[in-house]
């Protein structure tokens, strides 16, 4: 299972890598457009006081991955227990089941997206979040997932999704586009896509973390089992030795008793 998880990790990482160009270009374009239409009143860019928050919690569907799910759930839990009212939108079974048992309202859930999640699989969760925000039911949408840094470093991460945090402009990439139609309208179409791409990237990132965590968990299990086998083998040999010694001494004792008699 360790080997299986390790090979799946490689495949999932490749998939996360494939999603990068879109996300990068999208971020660049968004930065440019947003800088052009400053003072835009698009609701996705408008901060408002947070009375109620929606948390999109990304966890794995399965366990056997060490502390992966528990750690992400714990991060989400700190939000749930904070002052502002929090509702959840879960991607992945583990998070859903936990908060469901806890009685925290879950307004949408997506699970069983497998090893090859497509954008359309996770869109429902994003659409619900977007609608809730636009309807004014929640004032912020945040995303919790486990970020893959390296196999040994899996970090539960919180990022604010809506209002959209426009990435900082990098030096020297200023481009004055001709917009068709108006910049505001282009921006209005870009923003939802940007949010979707971020959630999709998070789901892939989380999947990579899951297989990394599983690889480690399985390696630990193999190591522990090996240790246990060594211990038990030692015990078996000791017991056998003791039995033989005892039987021998009984035979010798018996023979001596006979000889003496």
């Amino acid at each position: 299972m360790q080997a299986v998880a390790a090979s799946k990790l490689r495949r999932v990482q490749a998939r996360a890598e494939a999603a990068r160009p879109y996300a990068d270009r999208m971020a660049e374009v968004l930065t440019e457009v947003a800088s052009r239409s400053t003072g835009s009143s698009h609701p996705f860019l408008t901060e408002r006081p947070i009375k109620k928050r929606l948390l999109i919690l990304v966890t794995a569907d399965r366990g056997l991955a060490g502390g992966l799910n528990v750690n992400a759930i714990r991060v989400a839990l700190t939000y749930v227990r904070q002052g502002e009212e929090t509702v959840l939108d879960t991607i992945g079974r583990k998070g859903r089941d936990y908060f469901r048992r806890l009685g925290v309202p879950i307004i949408a859930e997506v699970s069983q997206t497998g090893d090859r999640p497509e954008l359309k699989d996770i869109l429902p969760a994003v659409t619900v979040a977007r609608d809730e925000f636009l309807a004014g039911n929640v004032d912020q949408v945040a995303l919790v997932h486990t970020h893959f840094v390296s196999v040994a470093r899996l970090v539960p991460t919180v990022s604010i999704l809506i209002p959209v945090q426009v990435p900082e402009r990098k030096e020297g990439m200023r481009v004055d586009y001709l917009y068709e139609p108006e910049p505001e309208e282009v921006l209005a179409r870009l923003l939802p896509r940007y949010v979707e791409a971020q959630v999709y990237a998070a789901v892939l990132d989380n999947l990579a973390s899951f297989y990394a965590a599983q690889t480690i968990a399985m390696r630990n299990a193999t190591d522990n089992a090996g240790e246990l086998i060594d211990d038990l083998t030692m015990l078996r040999n000791k017991v056998r030795q003791a039995t033989i010694t005892k039987e021998l001494s009984e035979i010798v004792g018996g023979a001596e008793a006979l000889a003496a008699g």
Binding site: Y22, R101, P105, A108, P124, V175, L178, E180, R189
Partner: protein
């Protein structure tokens, strides 16, 4: 060497095309548009249709269901929506996700279930601490 456009067609799920071209035609939301090298920078949403890429007389077509076209003088980027998406399907799916969550909540939860959840977490945490401790001791 003649001017070329660097064409990059990407979707959320991956890159579909990367290469040079002499001429690109894309279905802009305001009408079909053709792009030659040294076009002025342009950004426009795309309507569903096909993107044509011509290079050395060879033509390739890519279907897009929407997305964006970003043009720079030497570069064309198509941020394409994946072909399956359609807004009405998305709405129906969203509704389903919402309903699923509700039906989950409606299934009555006893105190015992809640307690089980809390203990499960506590147990998992304890196990983690133990694993951590063991690992540190072994090193």
């Amino acid at each position: 060497m003649a001017d070329k456009l660097h064409v990059d067609i990407v979707t959320v799920e991956g890159r579909r095309y990367k290469g040079d071209a002499d001429f690109v035609v894309a279905p802009g939301s305001e009408g079909e548009l053709g792009v030659l090298p040294r076009h002025i920078p342009l950004l426009t949403p795309l309507a569903p249709g096909s993107v044509k890429v011509r290079n050395d007389g060879e033509e390739q077509f890519f279907f897009v269901s929407g997305g964006f076209l970003e043009v720079r003088p030497d570069q064309v980027t198509v941020l394409a929506d994946s072909a399956e998406r359609a807004d009405d399907i998305d709405e129906a799916r969203a509704e389903e996700a919402r309903r699923r969550a509700e039906s989950l909540l409606q299934q009555k939860l006893s105190d015992a279930d809640q307690a089980a959840a809390t203990t499960a977490l506590a147990r998992a945490e304890a196990r983690l601490r133990l694993a951590e401790l063991r690992r540190r001791r072994r090193v």
